[in-house]
Symmetry: C2
Subunit: 348 residues, 2 copies
Amino acid sequence: MDLSERKLRILHAIVGDFIRFAEPIGSRTLSRKYDMGISPATIRNEMADLEEIGFLTHPHTSAGRVPSDKAYRLYVDDLMQKYEIPEEEKQIIAEKLKKNVSELERTIKHAASLLSEFTNLTSFAITPNQESNKLQHIKFLPVDEYTVVLMIVTESGRVTNTAVKLKSTCTEENLALLSKVMTYNYKGKTLSDILTLDIIKEFESDVEVMGRLMENIRPNFINTLENMLDVELYLDGLTNIFSIPEYNDIEKAKDFLDMINKREHLTDVLINREDGVIITIGNENKEDIMHDYSLITATYHVQGRLMGKLGVIGPTRMKYDEVTSIIEYITDNISRTFKITRGDENDE
Amino acid sequence: MDLSERKLRILHAIVGDFIRFAEPIGSRTLSRKYDMGISPATIRNEMADLEEIGFLTHPHTSAGRVPSDKAYRLYVDDLMQKYEIPEEEKQIIAEKLKKNVSELERTIKHAASLLSEFTNLTSFAITPNQESNKLQHIKFLPVDEYTVVLMIVTESGRVTNTAVKLKSTCTEENLALLSKVMTYNYKGKTLSDILTLDIIKEFESDVEVMGRLMENIRPNFINTLENMLDVELYLDGLTNIFSIPEYNDIEKAKDFLDMINKREHLTDVLINREDGVIITIGNENKEDIMHDYSLITATYHVQGRLMGKLGVIGPTRMKYDEVTSIIEYITDNISRTFKITRGDENDE
DNA sequence: GTTAGCACTCACCCAGCAAGAGTGCTAACA
DNA sequence: TGTTAGCACTCTTGCTGGGTGAGTGCTAAC
């Protein structure tokens, strides 16, 4: 199973060439293009060997060779070299991710957009799973006679708010009191605990006036918590696939877009991936409909604890070295940005 | 220029047939399919007349006739009948738009998604322009030692918040005071006035301690206001175009997607459209790149004053009757939902 | 072990042909 | 005078079939 150095060299050349040009490559072309000191006939023999042990395939008898998933795996693990991102690209990325740091959603959206821009692939990202995020603060603010704003702040500094319409008017004092009581009750509990442990129901008996108010507010409160637990999915660079020759066939393009449009499914796939930079190639993907694609994903962290994911999807023939470097650079940047809590820790 | 009743009947048949089947139709087929009591030869003569005055065109000599933009215009204005939306569709739409009424963004997103689902076209929507929205309330809430949440509430009940990182810690009293002072200063002013009139700068001299705090907060404040003024664009049903025969050609599909992806441009087009249900067909669109498409847009209102837009874009050959009814129904629903301020006005 | 040579295979391109759907025109009909 | 039948003509579409070129596998010689 160990490959000779020459076989590795040939395989490397084939994978590299195919990644760039998307065209099966023959022995003659290979020897002319990459001048490796051996004749086409020799290459042919080696190729036949490589095909037998599953590294190459053959679209049809008289076509050149094409790398298999196994070959890409070998390439990713042993052959490819680290890609250095050009300084200017790094700058653009760092610059854009620094903006609007107060809104994680915006940053994640930007991250997905940068990722698809620089990889020319379709990118996607999910916001952090907040189940273990703990509640810090609940506040009610009056807007007009019959409207109050319910605001929930979590320990990681995520803030969510909803307007609530009241059935009857309510004094500012009562709202302040309710804020205090609810904060006291729920502070330090995780969002999913608050939702599942029925402690929302238990609440109502406490005080008389509060009871009626809470009755009114409860649906919105539950709804807001549920929304906070929703993991948001962002997609970008959908149309990039049209510049990839593999998808010049309308059917293929449609299949791809149909798969991408199964948003819940895509979210699940991302959530269930392991942490760190993960590459899965073609058949390595558990999901049948992804057998023709490769995925590269990475994890970013918010305040050390919460984490979300970012990734690209494309044909198995992708620039693994470039994409890996770029995705790593982006997630590192996000994690660094959202690690800082205090305003004065702005480096540089 | 006035068309005979027979010419109108023929034109109606051609437009209707082409909208459904996307194929040029010839005199013989037309007479067979729609049994209009005259021979193909007669229809041919009438067709020649209609072509001469610009209602029909001819892809090539031996092909059938195809309606021109002018024909669609006549169809939309005089020929087409009102389309009745099936009750079940109405219910699904009403149901979905009722959910999450506290978050306009979510509703608009849902509206776009419903629109593309029921029209099988690509839909898009923008959130209301908030330039004339007035500030109602500013509140600072402590999160941790160095983090506060800045919260802005407008008269129409829209709420936005940002986490702000402080350079130095700050007492709760000071935050409460700053909230009061800022609310006092800005209440009743429109968002764009606050941003442009430089009143943010004037502010700082007021109180000594507040000055330093404000210095720290100002960039976030400005940034948040700017974000509130941004009109958000939502797109949905992009992949629907693949089920439209016109776009079976990969080049056409790409052109379409490229145009759709010019998001700023699309936003501008929407903003600059007149109110109400507006149909523009092919060449009627001012923008060159839209000469091959038709747009149907409509306006929804929030709290009577703010307004946003919703629309679809597709080939000039679209089901104008259906789309118009659906888009009208959806915008009416949104406007009705967001007219109510009090919780007890839930009809039904 | 490496290479040259050769027969063979297939996708791809292009030309040619027949079929089918349409048209425009002319002449006959009511 | 408006309507219709008939006919010649046009143009797309789909099919077929040969030529070309890139590539392979095998064999035999170096």
